[in-house]
Symmetry: D2
Subunit: 389 residues, 4 copies
Amino acid sequence: MLPVAKIVNDPVHGFIRLPAGRVLQALNHPIVQRLRRLSQLGLAQFVYPGATHTRFLHALGVLHLAQEALTSLAGKGVTISAETWEAVLLAAFLHDIGHGPFSHSLEGQLLPYTHETIGLQLLELLERDLGDLSEVRALWQGTHPRSFLSELIAGQIDVDRLDYLVRDSFFTGVQEGLVGTERLIYTMAVAENRLVIEEKGLTSVEKFIVTRRFMYWQVYLHKAVLGAEWLLRRWWAAFAQSEEHPRNYSTDTGLDRFLSLDEAAIWGWIHWGTGAAFPPLRVLSRALLERQLYKIRYTPPEEAPFLREVWRKRLPSPHQTWQEWFWVEGWAENEAYQPGQEENILILTKGGQIRALQELSPWIHELAGPTRRFFAGGLPVAWLESQQL
Amino acid sequence: MLPVAKIVNDPVHGFIRLPAGRVLQALNHPIVQRLRRLSQLGLAQFVYPGATHTRFLHALGVLHLAQEALTSLAGKGVTISAETWEAVLLAAFLHDIGHGPFSHSLEGQLLPYTHETIGLQLLELLERDLGDLSEVRALWQGTHPRSFLSELIAGQIDVDRLDYLVRDSFFTGVQEGLVGTERLIYTMAVAENRLVIEEKGLTSVEKFIVTRRFMYWQVYLHKAVLGAEWLLRRWWAAFAQSEEHPRNYSTDTGLDRFLSLDEAAIWGWIHWGTGAAFPPLRVLSRALLERQLYKIRYTPPEEAPFLREVWRKRLPSPHQTWQEWFWVEGWAENEAYQPGQEENILILTKGGQIRALQELSPWIHELAGPTRRFFAGGLPVAWLESQQL
Amino acid sequence: MLPVAKIVNDPVHGFIRLPAGRVLQALNHPIVQRLRRLSQLGLAQFVYPGATHTRFLHALGVLHLAQEALTSLAGKGVTISAETWEAVLLAAFLHDIGHGPFSHSLEGQLLPYTHETIGLQLLELLERDLGDLSEVRALWQGTHPRSFLSELIAGQIDVDRLDYLVRDSFFTGVQEGLVGTERLIYTMAVAENRLVIEEKGLTSVEKFIVTRRFMYWQVYLHKAVLGAEWLLRRWWAAFAQSEEHPRNYSTDTGLDRFLSLDEAAIWGWIHWGTGAAFPPLRVLSRALLERQLYKIRYTPPEEAPFLREVWRKRLPSPHQTWQEWFWVEGWAENEAYQPGQEENILILTKGGQIRALQELSPWIHELAGPTRRFFAGGLPVAWLESQQL
Amino acid sequence: MLPVAKIVNDPVHGFIRLPAGRVLQALNHPIVQRLRRLSQLGLAQFVYPGATHTRFLHALGVLHLAQEALTSLAGKGVTISAETWEAVLLAAFLHDIGHGPFSHSLEGQLLPYTHETIGLQLLELLERDLGDLSEVRALWQGTHPRSFLSELIAGQIDVDRLDYLVRDSFFTGVQEGLVGTERLIYTMAVAENRLVIEEKGLTSVEKFIVTRRFMYWQVYLHKAVLGAEWLLRRWWAAFAQSEEHPRNYSTDTGLDRFLSLDEAAIWGWIHWGTGAAFPPLRVLSRALLERQLYKIRYTPPEEAPFLREVWRKRLPSPHQTWQEWFWVEGWAENEAYQPGQEENILILTKGGQIRALQELSPWIHELAGPTRRFFAGGLPVAWLESQQL
C-alpha cells in the first residue's frame, strides 16, 4: 500500500485514503476537478431526486475499490510493483475523464468521439503535468502485459461497474441495487494472468448480474428517465440548428472548448433557449426547466403509430406543426451481460480449473443477454397547450 | 389502521407500532414470550456471529410488514374490516409459534409433528385467553374467503419471507440479501381475490427470488452452517439413545413439556453430555461447545466413500469404533421458488391481465427450481485426536 | 392522512408519499421545480464531495417529516382539520422557496432581501395558481392560532432542522450527524397550544443540540468550506463591479429575474469570468473552477495581521497589487441553540408541567450559546504564482 | 499488518480480517468460544429485542478497531514491532474473557471477584496453550512501557468503548448511539508516550461523550432494563438460598466450574425454579420467563416509601408475606465520563501542546460527571395476583 496523503469522506465507502504522489497530483488537476461539475446519472435525478452524485465522486469510489482489490490480491501472493500499483490507481481514478456533460444523452454530440477516445486524448494533456502515463494507457486498452489488471479496470466485473452499481443504488435510494463489493473483491484471484472469481463467489457473481439487470430497468431505462434523456437530446438537436445564439457551439472547436463545457453551461443554454426564436427550442427549453418529460410507454412498435395518432389529435393545431419535436420513439436496450468469446466472466473452480460463468450458471445466458423494448411517447398535451408558440 | 398502543424498536424496520387489543394481549402471552428464547437461525451464528436474532423479533417484523401491506392495499381501495385487519396481524405475528428450539435441525424430533401442526394446537391454547381465533386459522390454512389475505400470510411472496430475508441479511451482515420490502409491498394489489404484483414490480420480484437463492447458498446451506446443524442433529440422536440422563425427554410428553423447551434447555443438556457415559455423546457435546464442526464439502455422491476413507484412515483406532457418529453425508436442497400449478406468483399486467411469473420471466423457471447438492464430511481429525474417549 | 397520489424515493427517508391536491400542484410548479437546481450545501461539496443534494430533495424530506409529526400528534388525540393538515404540509414543503443560488454565500446579494422575505413574495405568485395560501403564511410568520403548528414548521426543533441535520449528515458521509428523527417526532406533544417534547425525549433533545453543534464545526463552519464560501463571495464582489459582462445582473430587476437564476447561471458567469478584463475576477474565477480555496485558519484576531504579512511577502509583486482580493478574514459564528425568552425548547415533565429545556439540562446553556471564532487566510501562493495577471 | 488468515462477517464493521498466529489460536480456544454463549447486554433484550448480540461478536469488533488504530498510528510514523502488534490485538480480543453470564446483573455473585480479576486468572490458563502472554497482561494493567497502547485497550476512549457504543446502538436500533469510529481512530496520535486526540477531532470526542451519556439513559439505565436486571439479581438471591436444587452452585468451586457456566445454564435454573419449594423463587422464575418486570420509576428517595405503600396495599395478603422479594429500590448511576487527574482525555492542540479535554470543552465537566437517580418499583400487581404461591 502507498502512504496515505489525504482522506476524503465518501457516504458510500466511508473514508477514502488517497496516496501521495501522482494520484494526488491528478486529484488537483483541472481536468479531474472538472468532473465535479458532471453528474453521474444526468437527468435521472428528475425521477430519483437524490441521484445528484458526480463523476468526481464516482472516480474516487473506483479508486478506492481498485485499492481494495490490489490489497486483497497482494494478500493472496500476487506481487505488484509500486509503480504498477500507482498506475492501476490512476487508471481507475481517471477512467471517466473523457465524459462530457450529460453523457448518457449527449455523447458523440459535443465532440464526434466516444468518451474513450476523448479520454485518451486528455491523458496526453495530463502527461505534460504528471509525466509518462503509458502504463495507464495500456491498462485502459487491454494491452498491459498483466492482463488481469486491465480486467480489473475495464472488464466484465471491474471496479467501475462495482462502484457505479452500489453508488447509483445508494443515491437513488433503490436499495435493491446494493452489491456486496467487499465479498466480490475478496473472491477475486489471478489465474493464468486472468482475473478470475473463486468458485465460492459464484452466487455473488450471479447476484451482481441480476442486480445490474434490475438497475437497468429500475433506473437507467426507467421510462421517465428515458423521457428526460430524450428531452435533452431533442433539445440539443433544436439548439444545434439554431443560428442565433452568440456562443453557439461547434464540434470543430476541439478539446479546449470541450473541457470548458460542463452541465452548468448546458443549463445556461437551456435558460437562453426559453427566449429563442425557434419555437420548438423555446418549448423544449421550458419543458426541461419545468420537468415536463416525454410520457413514454413501452409498447410493441406496431402500436406506436396508433398511440401517436391519439396524442396528435389532442394537440392544438399550432403545436401540430412542430409535432416531430414533441414526440419520441425507438428501442431501449439493456445489455447487462453479453456472453461471448472474449469477455467471459471466469470462475476458478475448487479443483483449480478456469471455467466460463455460463458453463456453471447456464440460466445467466438466458437472463442477461441484450433485451430490447420499443418505447414511444409525447410531451404532455395539457402542458403543451399552456405553452405559447 | 388500529390505534397504536406500544412502540418497539427494531434495528431492521425502525419503530414498530403495536396496536391495542388482541395483538397486545398476544405479545404478553407466555406462548409468544417463549419465542424470545428461540433463535431464528439456530447454529448459523457459528458462521455468522451476528446472527443471534430471535423468532420473537422476526414475529414483530412480520407483524410490521403485514401492517404496511394492509395500509397500502387499503390505499388502493381494498376494504378490510377492523376485525379482519386484526386477524391478519395476529396471523402474521403468531405464524411461527409452533417452532421449537433449533428448528432447522430438530424439527420433528422433539415432538413428532411439523411446526405447522404444533402451531395449530397452540392456537387452541391461545383461544382460551384471547377468544376465538378461527379467522387466524383460516388465514393460515388458506381457507379464508379472501384468499389474497392468506397469500399475504403464507404465499410465495408473503410477509414472512420478506421479513426473514431482510432480517437474516441484516444480522448476518450479508448485505446482498437486502430486499426492497417497501417497493414489493407497494406493488402488491388484489385481482380476482388473489394477491398479485403489479407489472411495474416485476424486476423486484425477480430480484427477490434471486436474492432468496443467494441467501440459501450463502447462509442457509453454507457448508459450515450445514456442518453445525448436522452436528446438533447427530448430538440429539446420541442424546436420545442415552438412558442415563435424569430429565431425558420423551416425545410422548406432549405440548406442555414442549412449551417449556427452549434453546437454553438444549444447551443445558449439551453441557451435561460432556460428562455422559456414551463416548460419542461426550465428543459431540464438546464439539458443540468448542465449535468443532463437520468439515463438509459439496461433492459428487460417488466420491464420498473415497473422501470418507481418507478421513477414516487418519483417525486414531479408538475413534474408528465410533466413526459413524463423526461423519455425515447427504443431499442439501435449495427450493428458492418452485413453479407449479397452485403456487404461482401472479403478475398483474398493465393491460389488466393476471399472468404467472414464469410466463413473463421464463428464466426464473430454470433458475429457481430445486437444486440439490451432495455433501460429505467429518469432524476435524486433529481435534478428535485431542479428545479422550 | 390525505390519500397518496405519488411516491418518491428518498435515500434518507425511503418512500415519501405525496398527497393529491395542492401539494401535488405545488410539486409541479416551476417555482418549486427550480429548487432542483439549487444545492442545499453550496460549495461544501468541495470538501464533502457527496454533498450534492438539492433544496428540492430537502423540501420533500421536510414535507415527509411534517406528515409523520401530524400523524403522530393525531394519534395522541390532537385534532387537525384536513384543510389545516394540507396547509402544514405546504408550509413545510415550500419553506425554502425564497432561497437563491448558493444561499449560504450570496444571500442578500442577488436581491437585497432575506430568503424569508422573498419566500413571502413568491407565496403570492403561487396563490395565483394554487389559490389562497394565507394559512401557510400564518404558519410561517407564527401568527397561526394553533401556534404549535407554527413551531413544528419554524421553531427550535422543527421539521426543517430535523431534515437538514440528518440529510446533510447522510450526504456528507459524516455519520455522527445522524439524528433519531423518529424518536424525536414520536415524543412531540401539544400542551397549552405549544409544541413540547415529552420528558422521555429529553436526552434525545440534548443529543439533537449537541449534534447540531457538531455539524456546525464539522461541516457548516469547516474551515475549507468557509474558504470556499468566501471565495464565492469575493468572486461575486469582483464580478458585480465588472462593467463589461453583457448579462450583468442588477439587483433592481426584481423577482422574475431572480427566479431565472440558478447555480448553473452562476457557474456560467464564473466560466465567463476566466476571460474577463479585471485581473482579480479572472483569478477568482479560475480558483473556483480548479478548487483553489482560501486556506483558512482559526486564529486569534490579533495574530491575523502577522499571518497575512507572512503570506503577502511570498506573493509575486504583480499579485501584491491585488492582495485585498486574495485574502479573507473575519468571524465565523455557530449558533446551535440560543436560549432566550421566546424560543425555549419546552419539555413536558411526567408530572404534566411545561419546563424550559435549560432548567432541566443547564449545561446546554453553556454548550449551545453562540460561539465565534476568528479566521484568516489567503489563496495558495504556489497556485497564485502559476496564474498570470 | 499481519497476514490475513480468516475473514468473519460482522454486520457492524463489515469483513473483519483475522491474522494468523496466536490470534487465530485464541479464537478457537474454548475459553473464547464460550463468549458465544454470553450476551453483551443481558436482559436489555427484554426492552430492545434486537439486542441479542454476544460478547464474542463484541470481542471481534474490538479486535478489528484495534487493528484499524494500529494501522492508522503506523501510518503516522509510530513504529510497533510485530510482536507488540499481536499482543495489542490479543489484549483487545481477550479483554472480556473474565465475564460470566449476565454480567451486568450477576458480576461478583457467581465468583466473588470482578471480571478483571477472573480475566487475569484465565489469561494464565490461556498461556498453557498460547505461550507467554505477559505483554497482554501489561497492556491490561497499564504497566506496558508504551502506555499509549494500554490507553488504546483500556482508557477513556478505548477500542472497547468505541465498539460497544456503536454495536449496542446498532443492535438495539437506537441509531442515535452511532459513533463515527473511523473519524475518532483517524485522529488518534501519540505524544509523550500518551494516546492523544488531535485537535481536529475535538468535536468528535465531545460527541462521543454525549453519545455515551445518551446510551446510558436510553439503554443501559432504561428503567425497564433496570427492572429486568434487578429481577434477575433478586431471582439469584432467592435461588442461592434455596437448599434443594441438586446442582446448586457454590462460589467456592472455582474457575473450572465458572467456565462451564453460561446463560443457558442460568436459564436452565430459572426453568427449574418455576417448580421449586420456595415461593418467591417460583414467582421470580416465572416472572423472568414471562417478562414481568419490576415496574420502576425514577423518583426522589423520600417518596419511595409512599409509592411502595400504595403498591403493597393492592397486593393479595399471601403475597404481602413475601413483599420484600417483589419490590426494589436504590440508586442508578451514570458515569459517562469522570474527569480527574489520571484519566483525562488528552487533546493535542495544533500548536503541539497536550491539553486535558475539560480545559478545551469545560461544559463537558458539568455534563459528564456521575449522575445518580433513585428508583423504586414493584412487580405488576395484576400479574402477581394471577400467580399462586
